[in-house]
């Protein structure tokens, strides 16, 4: 399966292996890791939670969107849930394409879409408390209750 939610540590190479292709000259990966400092505030650890069944569906939808935009791309995405320590990997996105520019663009498209439509939440545990992190994009608003660019079917 190229789109997964897991509660185990992610091995980056496993995700890369899913997109290696004889006709791909470029593979890009994005590895999202737990950062210690955010605006000077110290994170102790994070808890990620997912609506797993729907999250897998949405990741797979992002894969479909990428194939539509970049027909020769291959995509694999794994997101972890549960408790993550500093430098642990939360998400790996691997994209292969024949030419490099597409591999960067499609990969960046994937992470932006994850932050819009995939039902996964993180709870930051600070030294002085804890909080569910809201939409990291901050600029996004869904007045209709539905994210942009997601058809209702």
């Amino acid at each position: 399966m190229n789109f997964e939610i897991t509660d185990k540590p992610i091995i980056t190479q496993d995700i890369i292996n899913k997109v290696v292709d004889r006709n791909a000259g470029a593979v890009t990966t994005f590895i999202g890791t737990v950062r210690e400092l955010t605006k000077g505030k110290k994170t102790l650890f994070l808890i990620y939670e997912a609506y797993e069944k729907m999250a897998v569906k949405q990741l797979s939808r992002i894969g479909d969107e990428i194939i539509e935009k970049w027909p020769n791309a291959k995509v694999a995405i794994t997101h972890r849930v549960g408790k993550l320590e500093i430098t642990d990997i939360a998400v790996v996105i691997a994209v292969s394409t024949p030419h490099r520019k597409d591999a960067y663009d499609a990969n960046e498209y994937a992470i932006e879409r994850i932050k819009q439509i995939v039902p996964i939440w993180k709870k930051e545990h600070w030294e002085d408390g804890e909080t569910w992190v809201g939409n990291q994009l901050e600029t996004e608003q869904y007045p209709t209750g539905k994210p942009e660019g997601v058809s209702h079917d």
Binding site: I114, K115, I120, W121, W132, G134, N135, Q141, G145, H152
Partner: protein, 77 residues
């Protein structure tokens, strides 16, 4: 019967991961209004909703057996 799934702060406000409700509501908006009457501290601003794992809107019709999930602002990645 409507099956409700709750995540992140919604789970904490309602105190449950899942609820099954015997309700006479026709659409998401009516469900939201019912929940607000029981849990006035719920904030539906920026909260998406899914019916049977597909994004839906306030107008989406729901029927018995549907799985409705409220999706607070996501923060994966």
């Amino acid at each position: 019967m409507i099956n409700l799934l709750l995540f992140a702060n919604f789970q904490e406000v309602i105190g449950s991961k899942a609820l099954s409700l015997e309700l006479n509501v026709n659409n998401i908006l009516e469900l939201k209004n019912y929940l607000l009457s029981k849990y006035p501290e719920l904030d539906f601003n920026f909260v998406m909703v899914a019916v049977n794992e597909e994004y839906a809107t306030d107008e989406t019709v729901i029927k018995s057996g549907d799985v409705v999930a409220f999706i607070p602002p996501v923060s994966g990645g």
